[in-house]
């Protein structure tokens, strides 16, 4: 169960505002990457976010670059899940591959209010917020496998080990 405050943003939240391009080839280590999260969108975010908090977006969340720090900067800040009306495909893959739950649920994404408490129950596939309870569709088998392994790297390590 994930439970935290909601950080709500609009449609087309792009990778440049999630993690500016000027840092992508030099930022190293969790702390440095975490410190630039949402720098050009919400400068208060990185210093105020708490473990388990949830990001809420509109349509096409994470559009733009393939830079993986757009997802890992959220993971390194303890973000528990991202809920959106839809995701850009590379961001979605990057999130899942780094064990960050990315949930497509337009009803919840619209209903959740800024800074309210939100809980995500992956087993029951339900998001709860003040205005109600929203069911989200099951994750694909492939995505579930990656999340269960704890991310793509661990999944590939296991696969390589089973071949050896």
């Amino acid at each position: 169960m994930i439970r935290g405050r909601a950080w709500k943003y609009g449609d087309n939240v792009n990778t440049d505002v999630l993690f500016p391009g000027k840092y992508t080839y030099t930022a190293k280590g969790r702390d440095e990457i975490a410190s630039h999260a949402l720098e050009d969108l919400d400068p208060a975010f990185a210093s105020s976010v708490r473990d388990g908090d949830v990001i809420v977006g509109g349509r096409n969340f994470g559009c733009g670059s393939s830079r993986e720090q757009a997802a890992t900067c959220l993971v390194y800040n303890g973000v528990g899940a991202v809920i959106a009306e839809s995701f850009a495909r590379i961001f979605y893959r990057n999130a899942i591959n780094n064990g960050l739950l990315a949930i497509v649920c337009p009803e919840a994404a619209q209903a959740i209010q800024q800074q309210e408490m939100v809980s995500v129950d992956l087993e029951r596939m339900v998001i709860e917020c003040e205005s109600g309870c929203f069911r989200f569709p099951a994750l694909s088998e492939t995505v579930q496998e990656i999340l269960e392994a704890g991310g793509l790297i661990e999944q590939v390590r296991r696969r390589l080990a089973s071949i050896d």
């Binding site: 792009n14 030099t26 720098e39 096409n60 790297i153």
Partner: protein, 455 residues
Amino acid sequence: MNNLDSSQNSAGQTNTSGVEAMTFAQKALARAGGCDRVDVGEVVDVRPDLVLSHDNTAAIREIWLQFGQERVAVPEKLAITLDHAVPAPTTRHAQNHAEIREFVQEQGICHFFEVGRGICHQVLSEEALVLPGQVILGADSHTPHFGWLGAFGAGVGRSEVAALWATGELWLRVPESVLIILEGELPKGVTAKDFALRIIGDLGADGGLYASIEFSGSGIEAMSVDSRMALANMMAEFGAKSSYIRPDDRTRAYLDAALERRMGRSDAAGRLGSSSLRAASTQLFPDDGAAYSATYRYDADELEPTVSCPHTVDNVAPLSAVAGTVVQQAFIGTCTNGRIEDIAEAAEVVRGRQLAAGTRLLVIPASSLVLQESMELGYIQALVAAGAVIGTPGCGPCMGNHMGVPATGEVTISSANRNFRGRMGTADAEIYLANPAVVAASAVAGRIADPRDLV
């Protein structure tokens, strides 16, 4: 634009041999996945023909090292370019490049392109490293670029490229396909970039989300290779997974010339066979009756110069609606519009003129070949004479690393692909996107301008 009744197209038809028709994406992923056919929505483990990375290669190496391997699985399938921040603007960037060169040396990577050779998508096209029908996965969001030659190109993340280095394969979901038809010839002053911006403006930055975008029609057939590249490349801003333009004689002639340049005529003809022959053996075409989730039809003569306004690519307006907006910086370059055709158009506009006082024009050819050809044809001389600055082939200031970062409050008009807030390194700056001739005309006028009004 007409949105044809998509329900008519929603179900794939059965061809004479009783097999359900397939789109290009289905065929390409079936082949790369070693299957006879795949269906939309199916997840396939594909083995791409080429795996692209660039300045992010050192970071990918760090991830790959977690697999405990000493050698990457298939080194000849890796293509690595230094392009995103070149020449290195800071010590940290230089260190990053040094780590990449070390990796290239240690793994014996043959397809490595140094600082100044150019932008990955342009260079791999010029080197004919991707052929029609092949699959290329890249740690770069503009990998749909390779749709220009009828290849399946998709962007993936760094961890996924590390996994590809380790295993040679990666899962992909077979996408729905959207068909976009362009009939007729583009009017003078209207380019493939304007068409791309129009599509994105009409249907939204997520209008092609997760989809393979197939283009067809006489307007596409009439397009130069450079224009096809601009169109396929821009589909990244439409949310697309990949794009596809049917390979034709123009495609094959380009690839022939590219292979000759790389291998030398005798080698190319002898050892490898001509690119045309190889392309003919790998190329894939969608079946008649293949299923499209939507079909859109455009008439070329209804299109006009189009500008994307701050801060999203789908915030488009006709050029006439934004003409007059004062700009401090104009930038021509990038994987979208830094090719010889683009530089020729810009040179044509500025020849014999001077940039407006208070406006600077930065021109960055997409590759060393484009730079050479631009010099041979006198374009660089015309641009410099007008007051332009020429940069090292590469991505330049597109993503805010260096070489043209705007000051707070400044307005840039750019031939690039993204105008997101902060994209060029400064949060409180505005970016307009347009075709290269409009960018050049704006640099001359000091405000957004139609080149047809200057001439």
